[in-house]
Assembly symmetry: C2
Homo-oligomer: 327 residues x 2
């Protein structure tokens, strides 16, 4: 591993000169520069970013904390984040906190450690204090740290309203409201959409049945069971509102049970990630603008890194995805 010292020696110049020539900052005579570049090439020199990082006290790496990658929503979000961060000159360290014993704390330590220049967190599992204690650069997705940490989220309230509107427009009389039990209290998350949906529907005299599922399960069979038991328990339901993980199996379990879902009930999914478009019939629903979320998170993070003032809370629009399962 040739160092810049070796290059300088071979080129017959001082250490500083070599550094300036190679890093491109500061004045170097064209001739000298050429000599240095040749020496560098000959020695097959590559700069050691570790040393540079130590000096600048930055690594150019951003930690992205998500529950898991093999989940439609998060894999899309991670994809966008990686891409956006790359464009801004940052590398992405991916940190999946689900399945990992002490993962979140461990990853959070990277900030104190200077291993990452900032963290984008999109998990809900950890206690707030550890985050807030950290004085470094953190931006949160969909999780409210009471103003201590800038947050970006989708307008879950609008999502609930939008869904309610479509159920009502479709003339639904009894809607199954299926959502994951919130593991952390007080955080704004998709739960809000379910609350609003309920309120809106009740006001219009639509019956709402609440079905609580366990959180954080990505097991297909679990959701299939949920779907089956719902279909059995509420044969007269004519509407379903749930996450993609719920609605996709719902659609297919109904088919398997010989129920003509399209005719019998309206399904509205929340998140409307790629699967809901891949399957047939396409599932109608409310979607989060993942690319906009990613861009906003990235921009906010970089502002914070640069010491600029950032907005405390940025709420992004949701959109309606046309499909076959609801008007």
């Amino acid at each position: 591993m040739a160092s810049i010292k070796d290059v300088a020696k071979l080129a017959g110049v001082g250490l500083g000169t070599a550094s300036r020539a190679l890093s491109g900052n500061g004045y170097v005579a064209p001739e000298t520069r050429k000599k240095i570049e040749e020496a560098a090439k000959e020695l097959d020199y590559t700069p050691n970013v570790l040393a540079r990082n130590l000096l600048k006290n930055r690594s150019g790496i951003i930690g992205v904390l998500i529950p898991s990658l093999d989940h439609y929503f998060f894999s899309e979000l991670a994809q966008r984040l990686e891409s956006d961060l790359y464009k801004k000159g940052y590398k992405t360290m991916i940190c999946c906190t689900r399945n990992q014993e002490n993962g979140e704390q461990d990853y959070l330590d990277m900030l104190e450690n200077n291993l990452v220049d900032g963290i984008i967190t999109a998990t809900h599992s950890f206690n707030d204090e550890a985050y807030i204690k950290s004085k470094r650069v953190i931006v949160s997705f969909d999780r409210d740290f009471k103003g201590e940490i800038p947050m970006v989220s989708s307008d879950h309230e609008a999502a609930g309203k939008m869904a309610a509107e479509h159920f009502i427009k479709s003339g639904c009389k009894k809607v199954l409201n299926i959502y994951g039990r919130d593991t952390v209290g007080g955080h704004i998350s998709t739960g809000k959409a379910h609350q609003v949906l309920k309120k809106e529907l009740k006001e219009k005299g639509v019956l709402v049945e609440e079905i609580c599922t366990e959180m954080g399960i990505s097991d297909t069979e679990y959701y299939e069971k949920i779907a089956r038991s719902c279909l059995e328990a509420y044969p007269d339901a004519d509407g379903v509102f749930g996450s993609d993980s719920v609605c996709v199996p719902f659609l297919f379990q109904a088919a398997e049970m010989g129920i003509d879902v399209l005719d019998k009930m309206k399904i509205i999914t929340y998140d409307a990630t790629a699967v809901t478009r891949t399957v047939y019939p396409k599932i109608s629903g409310v979607g989060q603008k993942i690319d906009e979320i990613s861009r906003t998170l990235t921009d906010t993070l970089i502002k914070k890194i640069n010491g600029e003032k950032t907005e405390e809370k940025q709420v992004l629009d949701v959109f309606w995805q046309d499909g076959e399962t609801c008007l």
Copy 2:
């Protein structure tokens, strides 16, 4: 940011002693240790890994190069890799090379840069030389660097045979063999499975129609179009072999066109990732053992990091996924 120097000063000890106490290497008197630890706590000291990395010339980070995260197979693989690497004490830097101008080279540079301790590459887009030139630690998934770089892959030949067997057992007479055009010549990849399938089927007198799709497209609509045109062009086909991205839309497009696929034709998917189990009817197919792939890649990489000898080529079994679309 309190440094170890500050801690030493506050504790009234030498720099080295503080370091030994805090890092746990070397002898320190219990009393002294206590003093140092208290000082560290008081100053809220956290070690700067950047400095440690420079000294040790390692970062504890592994680069994982994949085409994209929002792809069923790769998101699952990335998930497993992150988890396996974490268990071994490494952090994962995720590097998506698709959509990124000069991404692969840029990420590859990280190795030379010392930013990562090793790279697991699962992309097919780049020229081999850049990889082979690099003398550092690389392990490849499903890509043959002619023995220069250890490779892990699935037994695509067995996959082809397995698929053929099932088509034959089901009495198929005309099978559509749908595969992406290989962008890079000579690399072993899923293409091998399609070759073998063709050979095996022909030997048994089964007709095989070859359908070539563009590579690297994750656009649903594109595959829907493919499915439609196949269904129209080959109304008498009774078998389909393709990737998940092909088979899922195929199933649903057929349904949309009012074709009773289950009755009319057998579908065998290759990769059999989670989607193929989520949808109904479940799609039969050949699967790659992603967790085993991940474990093998990780183990091999770590062996290389530790300077141990590694196997040049490790071929892993594929498995049959029972489903409704083929016996």
